[in-house]
Symmetry: C2
Subunit: 449 residues, 2 copies
Amino acid sequence: MSNSSGEKKHIVTPSLPSGFNEYLPSDQILFNSMIETIRKSYESFGFVPLDTPVIERAEVLLAKSGGDTEKQVYRFTKGDSDLAMRFDLTVPLARYVSLHYGELTFPFRRYHIGRVYRGERPQKGRYREFYQCDIDIVGNGTLSILNDAEIVGVIYQTFKALDLGGFTVMINNRKVLGGFFESFGVTNITEVLRAVDRLDKAGPEAVSKELGELGLSSECIEATLKLVALCGKPSEVIGEIKTWNIDNTLFNEGLSELETVCSAVKGYGVPEDCFKVNLRIARGLDYYTGTVYETFLNDHPELGSICSGGRYDELASNYTNQKLPGVGIAIGLSRLFSQLKESGLLRGTERSSVTDVLVVPMDDCLDYALKTASAMRRRGYSVETYLNGGKMAKKMGYADKLGIPFVLVCGESERDDGTVTVKNMATGEQKTVPIDPENGLNLSFLSEI
Amino acid sequence: MSNSSGEKKHIVTPSLPSGFNEYLPSDQILFNSMIETIRKSYESFGFVPLDTPVIERAEVLLAKSGGDTEKQVYRFTKGDSDLAMRFDLTVPLARYVSLHYGELTFPFRRYHIGRVYRGERPQKGRYREFYQCDIDIVGNGTLSILNDAEIVGVIYQTFKALDLGGFTVMINNRKVLGGFFESFGVTNITEVLRAVDRLDKAGPEAVSKELGELGLSSECIEATLKLVALCGKPSEVIGEIKTWNIDNTLFNEGLSELETVCSAVKGYGVPEDCFKVNLRIARGLDYYTGTVYETFLNDHPELGSICSGGRYDELASNYTNQKLPGVGIAIGLSRLFSQLKESGLLRGTERSSVTDVLVVPMDDCLDYALKTASAMRRRGYSVETYLNGGKMAKKMGYADKLGIPFVLVCGESERDDGTVTVKNMATGEQKTVPIDPENGLNLSFLSEI
């Protein structure tokens, strides 16, 4: 190819950076419909939208973290500024609540659907830029434990609306785990919980070995494995664990919280078989201090937890002296979408278009066609007019390839008679029906043919 | 503040980087409702959503640009990768269409609502991270001029839906301008058009002087100022300009395109007073080759163009040898929002909440309250349950501060009678009405009180 001065033009390969991802229209439409479902569910519980900058001051973003997180962060300087791209939506929330503390009303309930960035080693379904869909409820000083039950209600309603098949919300309480280990005199609880968290991946033997290396007695290891095997109906699990008569304040506080949460969850209409207490759920982060959540698809446990979170005592201690306890969850939507697609679990018609009706003007009937299209738009339909040249077969082929369900032909005879010819692209059926584009259309024919 | 080991904790100031912006909930809700209006309008014309990565390979993003753009770009390395953040949504579109050429159906109609990044000097209302709302129609080889008319239809419907008061879409055609200057033997047309583009800001004298410095004869300068003063009803402006009998192929091609577009625009229901031909519109970019658009609020011309764009011959010549002509527009939403707010032009109630109803459980009526809230959610309301402690005045104060319109009190007497007490927060009116939370509610009382 030559440009105007006759030189050979340099063509740059239009590829994406490694680990980055984008969708073709059909997947983008499905992905957006999932976001829309999640958004509506979050808003139905009165969570307000938030949208913080993707770039933050590196000092702010990395106030707490270290090690792995820091290595994965996209960090750069621009002018004098040391900047970094957010790697989750929780640190920006902490920063936001601290910065706007005086202007917010507490409990502050926000949702945030946005992209985060992690320079991880690219793997199948794991991207360096991905969507998270978070909700958090942040209290000022205190926050009732009942909010922990509400989160289960939100998870239930959201995944019911997403229609991905049966799922189970598993909850636990870190105080139960912490108190349990405290009663055995174990002090390195964070490390112990991290080892327990690997039970599914590493198996009981490896974890036992690791717990031994962390200094746990064999009696304690045995009790631990018995504890983390408990999973089931809240009343049964809590009943069982009560018979162990563990005399530890933290443990009993956690157990009481767990009971309160499980009892309140019923009010949210969560069916019994969608909700379990699972003593194995620990969440690796040292961040959580009470209730923790994970969510699994019943028929696809191999996907891992598709919605996780928990209660934390201090959201923003790096930015403020205010005590801001909270509880929240995140859905890693990009990864979930990729897994669902891989497993053939995505519902909804695959279409490359949002258009309901393609209007095709014939001969010199453009004006009639445009008015017909505008009238249908006013009735809430998504309507495209085929404005480009070519034979009828090409125009029908366009509708067909994109999955547009109806084609409306506006030719001379239609214009003169005040009609349109409608073709149902799925059945091939065709019908000429009267319309009145100036005064609104009777569109019942779309469901008739 | 001390952490668990008793050390003094370091508090990081939770500020944003200079030039970055975020909203408090009330503004975020308004901003999102504008995005939603734009999205719906774009989709009603059958544009499909697209969402490309914020980060691209620097080589790709900077294939064409140079000078100012390059200086403003956020560019950094991560590992071996030379990366950059997108500074508009058009270059990513060009890259996308080139990369997925074989998988797309043309004309390819997409909208993209997303953030772009420019390290400009921060100014009032100008951010380094801001939203753009773009549509483009990209043809494969050719693209009918009728698509240029459709874009006016989309602008009209979108700004009508945004309800910002009277507005005018101004159109012009670069070929008319180009042919006009060609007929005077002017060859440095890009520079000349850039000077003309500054007419509003710099005034006719400064522009005349600049045109003189660019080598234009005084006769040509005089004719230029006469040309660019033409602005009005399409038929009148085009009629006037035809009497000039300029004998130039490009000029007459442009004029004929302008006529075709103006005639087709009527079919989109655009009222005559919303649409003008304005020979002054040039758009500074050398990028555009035909129709160009700008849009102004009638009562606030000082805001400048709030929606601009045009026709280009080759979208993606940096990435592919395919000829991909297109036409599109962009709304710079973050800046527009800031200007509208500043000018007091934002419609809609300012609320810090999306909640319709706050349900307040009294005494031990939590379960009754939760069931009532769930039933209302199933009816499509956004419902929050006040789950935290405190006196009634505090709970009412919470609803009041957030602008929640209704509070439902569920106490013992209500539960026993199967009623709720509803308070209209605007009028203070209060009423006890029967409900049936298990079997769905009669919610007509919300409009009654």
